[in-house]
């Protein structure tokens, strides 16, 4: 049953087989995608026609590798910019929310806490259309009332940032709150007794303590934003993010360039995951 109890061989081997099949299921699509990025063929399919790097570096008319693919490179850049602003915004507001819910008392606190959690259970598509509708109405209002055209209210870069921020901030709040709950508040009291004001205490003591959680939350926020599809789908305009751009290509037939991009994403995120894991282990 468990490791401290006697187990039959059949049970253990059966279990190992199940885990083997499970991990094969888990990794099969990723491995196949990576391998076919190096296949010397016009289509992301077998048979194997030999190893090539042309889907990365190629610059021929019929074979444009990812490093020369203007459209895909641009969408990667857009995604990185969106993720950067989403991370800054959600870490700032999420940390404020963690302090608010952990250390402050005010009326209707539990109602507001419930509201803060709600983005976790609202489907991303709904969040996307709601924000689209609201910003559109605001835009119309500003236009008819004062004759001002506010670009922020039209689908585009900043609306994507706000849409992703609206639910990523909740995740940051939860991560930072969990760490803040472990904080020994006598340290704050000591600093206050020694004449520091509340903001000095937060800046010099509490934020230092929260730093690992904040960095961890920032990494997760960046990744979630970089890969978001559902909310972005409704808020995006001409400057498409990478997931949207890839989706359009996959839907209309694919080339091994998509495998090359996927390979880079898989390698990049795996490295980030290992680094993140290493640092979180070290902290413990």
């Amino acid at each position: 049953m468990i490791r401290s109890l006697p187990n039959s061989h059949r049970y253990l081997y059966g279990y190992k087989l199940y885990m083997g099949v499970y991990f094969a299921f888990l990794f099969a699509p990723l491995v196949v995608t990576c391998v076919l990025a190096f296949n010397d063929s016009q289509f992301p399919a077998l048979p194997w026609k030999g190893f090539t790097l042309e889907w990365f570096t190629g610059d021929l008319p019929q074979r444009v590798g990812i490093f020369h693919d203007r459209m895909n490179l641009e969408s990667i850049w857009v995604s990185a910019q969106v993720a950067f602003f989403v991370t800054i915004l959600s870490v700032t507001v999420g940390t404020c929310a963690a302090f608010l819910f952990e250390q402050e008392e005010f009326p209707f606190k539990s109602a507001l806490y419930f509201l803060m959690l709600s983005p976790l259970v609202i489907p991303g598509v709904i969040l996307g259309i709601s924000i689209l509708l609201f910003s559109n109405t605001l835009g119309m209002f500003f236009e008819t009332r004062w004759g001002i055209d506010v670009p922020l209210f039209r689908p585009g870069f900043w609306l994507v940032v706000l849409g992703q921020f609206s639910f990523i901030a909740t995740l940051v709040t939860l991560v930072v709150s969990a760490r803040l709950r472990k904080f020994d508040r006598t340290l704050e009291e000591a600093a206050l007794n020694l004449g520091a004001n509340r903001f000095e205490v937060i800046w010099h003591i509490t934020l230092k303590f929260l730093r690992p959680a904040i960095f961890g939350a920032a990494a997760v926020a960046f990744l979630m934003s970089f890969e978001n599809f559902n909310t972005t789908l409704f808020l995006v305009s001409s400057d498409t993010t990478l997931p949207i751009n890839l989706y359009l290509q996959v839907r209309d037939g694919s080339t091994p360039v998509i495998n090359a991009i996927s390979f880079l994403l898989i390698v990049g995120t795996s490295l980030a995951a290992i680094v993140n894991l290493y640092f979180s282990r070290k902290q413990e």
Partner: protein, 289 residues
């Protein structure tokens, strides 16, 4: 209104409260009020804008709409159930069966694929399953199949894709809840003569309930609101409700009808989550931690 004794308006409170209120009011509350308002906008007989429930009536009048809705709901529940059945043994193995020194490594293997974008994972399945795909290539090579078969674009491949996509959100809460289960409880039950099924249903499952509920809620919500996987892996006939919303917004440009659909999806998701919490006597604020 009576306020709590400890409540004072202080500068830190204002500094923390303002950005949080701006976020929640402008990006969560107001947009959803607007969603409801837009769904209730319609036209009267002479074509002037008016209030009414015509958009919701359309939903019930057209079988394609409500059939898609029911289909999406039923499949989402099915996917949640299947994800649990697949993930539970995995979580149990990692926390209770495998030697502790492999635990960290297995946990890393478990999490790794989910750092990668959902699109890349779905794309991987497309390359594997489609008619010119890798699995067909091997099966025809081995002589098991005479000619390639289309394995993509049907309900089975779609459900499998959805289970695959949501696996992480079930496995992680299960692992963390099983970690807190004291081994000696299982040992005691074993010593007292309980068999595996009794141990599983009387000890493991009751203890794991908070994890099961939180995993199920997230998986259900993500499946219900998924667009990519049903769109890319499902067939022409396996329409998902989010695709209906997308069609109303982007293709037909009928935002009022789309809002009504969006509102219905939100209502369904909230209702099922609420029912799940009530049935298992859990609280949302406890479940998310």
């Amino acid at each position: 209104m009576r306020m709590k004794n400890r409540f004072h308006i202080t500068l830190p409170l204002i500094c923390f409260l303002t950005p949080v209120l701006l976020w929640l009011v402008l990006l969560i509350v107001m947009p959803h009020v607007e969603l409801l308002r837009m769904s209730l906008r319609t036209e009267d007989i002479s074509g002037n804008p008016a209030w009414g429930v015509a958009n919701f009536m359309n939903f019930f009048k057209e079988p394609i709409y409500w059939l898609t809705f029911v289909r999406t709901a039923v499949y989402s529940i099915l996917v949640t159930l299947m994800t649990f059945i697949v993930a539970m043994p995995v979580a149990f193995y990692i926390t209770k069966v495998v030697a502790p020194r492999f635990q960290g490594f297995l946990m890393m293997l478990l999490l790794m694929p989910f750092w990668v974008s959902e699109l890349v994972r779905v794309y991987g399945w497309m390359i594997l399953l489609r008619e010119s795909g890798v699995i067909n290539h091997f099966l025809t090579r081995l002589g098991i199949l005479n000619q390639p078969v289309e394995m993509l674009y049907n309900d089975v491949s779609m459900v499998m894709g959805l289970v695959y996509t949501s696996m992480l959100f079930m496995a992680v809460p299960l692992v963390s809840v099983l970690e807190s289960l004291d081994d000696s409880l299982i040992e005691a039950a074993y010593d007292l003569g309980a068999n595996m099924f009794t141990i599983f249903f009387r000890i493991v499952i009751p203890h794991a309930m908070p994890g099961i509920v939180s995993g199920s809620i997230v998986v259900f919500m993500l499946t219900l609101g998924n667009y990519l996987t049903p769109n890319l892996m499902g067939g022409k006939n396996s329409l998902w409700f989010t695709e209906q919303i997308y069609n109303q917004f982007i293709a037909s440009f009928n935002w009022n009808q789309g809002s009504a659909f969006g509102f219905l999806l939100l209502a369904l998701s909230s209702l099922v989550i609420w029912a799940g919490l009530k049935l298992t006597r859990q609280k949302l604020s406890r479940v998310v931690q």
